[in-house]
Point group: D3
Chain length 119, copies 6
């Protein structure tokens, strides 16, 4: 049942590897900058992942939502805390966010089922 998560992970890894082969310094630097944005700084890395999830939700990008949910769970955010962040995104972004809320809630359930060995 978590095949959706695995498909996402393998496609993401495969294409990131493919992009890493491209000889373009700007693209490489952008990926580095993107990774660095979520490292501990004035804000801790855990908080930044929640910012990334909220930004992804209001911009309505399912792949970005999935990535940041995986990171948020790994960083130790509880489901209730993630739902609370998604509620901020819902109120800011409106009902057009609802299909992405459905996707996000399904992803959270898949991640938890996977962690419980219930895959």
């Amino acid at each position: 049942m978590s095949s959706r998560l695995n498909e996402f992970r393998s496609y993401r890894t495969r294409m990131n590897d493919r992009i890493a082969q491209i000889d373009h310094l700007g693209i490489k630097r952008f990926f580095n900058l993107d990774g660095a944005a979520y490292k501990e700084g004035a804000l801790d890395a855990k908080t930044k992942e929640l910012l990334g999830l909220t930004a992804s939700a209001v911009l309505r990008c399912n792949d970005c939502i999935d990535y940041h949910i995986l990171q948020c769970v790994e960083a130790g955010w509880t489901d209730a805390e993630i739902y609370d962040a998604l509620n901020v995104a819902l109120v800011v972004g409106g009902s057009i966010v609802i299909p992405h809320l459905r996707h996000a809630v399904e992803t959270i359930d898949l991640v938890r089922a996977e962690a419980a060995g219930d895959t």
Copy 2:
């Protein structure tokens, strides 16, 4: 010099009061829901303001950015922490966010100058 902040505050208050006079239950309930989204829940109110600021920045809304900066400062976030959140917004949202980063940084400076009595 903080006349920009005062203009923002007075326009916002005046029009929110005007909207409150409108006899439309849906609009009233939306404003209540909006206010409630930033109250203490599974996440504390301080974290939620930072989520609101990041969402406002990637959606490129100066008025929303100004409102959430005022709230973030009141909630106790330092400049360095707010810059770190804005950096996440910049990386997620791209260079199209830069004009709003300029606005945000100016707003932070105005808020601090105001607090220092330097208005």
Copy 3:
């Protein structure tokens, strides 16, 4: 052939039920507010569904488009009227809306085929 519509309906119902189990007052209230926005008010419910469809089209959300087409057809809008609304969305939103126009026209055809028992 209308399996796409049925998949959409069953996923939407399943995930809305799942979200309804989440203990978050803000999310529950948002869903109520969303439902209420399309009820008879100063504008009749039929007109509001067309507004919802047009908003969904310019914001380029296929799930939202499908939902509002189902509602528009149920409310009694003809295909010609729905196309005319989609044309407004196309002109306002530009050629980036075209993939969603394709999706919308396909959905209308699926809904009509379904109603004709031609599934």
Copy 4:
């Protein structure tokens, strides 16, 4: 007090005239197509203006909102009906629409004051 409306009208007219001088068939045709989208068709012109307003509000364009409010008032929509359309836009588009709701409500008031000779 309606100087904001007059500024909008004169800038819009001046720049549309300037654009009309540009020797570019595509731009000319786009403006014609835009005008034609709001003419009586399967839907009446009045309904289409409300669609245009809702689309402008969720896409958060103040100039477009002002233009369509002027058209909606001329087409005979009441304030209560326009507020009801703006509520749909608010729920679909979220709190990020609120600054544009403030602007829209102010514009409606300016248009009504102007019509009442109270300028």
Copy 5:
């Protein structure tokens, strides 16, 4: 392996044909205007396709990206040049564009494999 391209092409053709059957002058004219925008003018057609690709990437529309990549390759742009345009889109639009960059790079690879008879 290029079944994704073929599915895209056949769905696009099928639905464009279906839309062409709709008796709506505005929609027909919009499609004509869209086609005309990429013809030789003050700018040559090749440059315009690259503009179309960049616009599609920052607006995050995979179908539009696929269409313009097909056109860009046909117009003679090399992979390195297309990557350079996508880098502009990435910097302007931010990390939210990354899932679409993955899609775009995969599409370029599929188009090249197809041309090499390696399908």
Copy 6:
């Protein structure tokens, strides 16, 4: 009459200088990356400025439009060529781009008047 351009330039310079004082490596690196994206690469710098303008227009950012028009003029693009790029943006992005087209055309006129010493 080109006071609008001068205001834009001085605000942009002042706030970029202010942002440069902020001790945040990520923000500094983003600005560098942004500058680098428009340098000669597989594509020449002139072409990239036109891509930047088109992206700015469909994303509806007046400050970004102004910046790229200044760069496009400096890079040697003629008015007719810039209009042709803006037409692509108009068709891709729809009538919601029109207020930004007005702004862009005014900016082009201001830049040309300035160059002619007619300020």
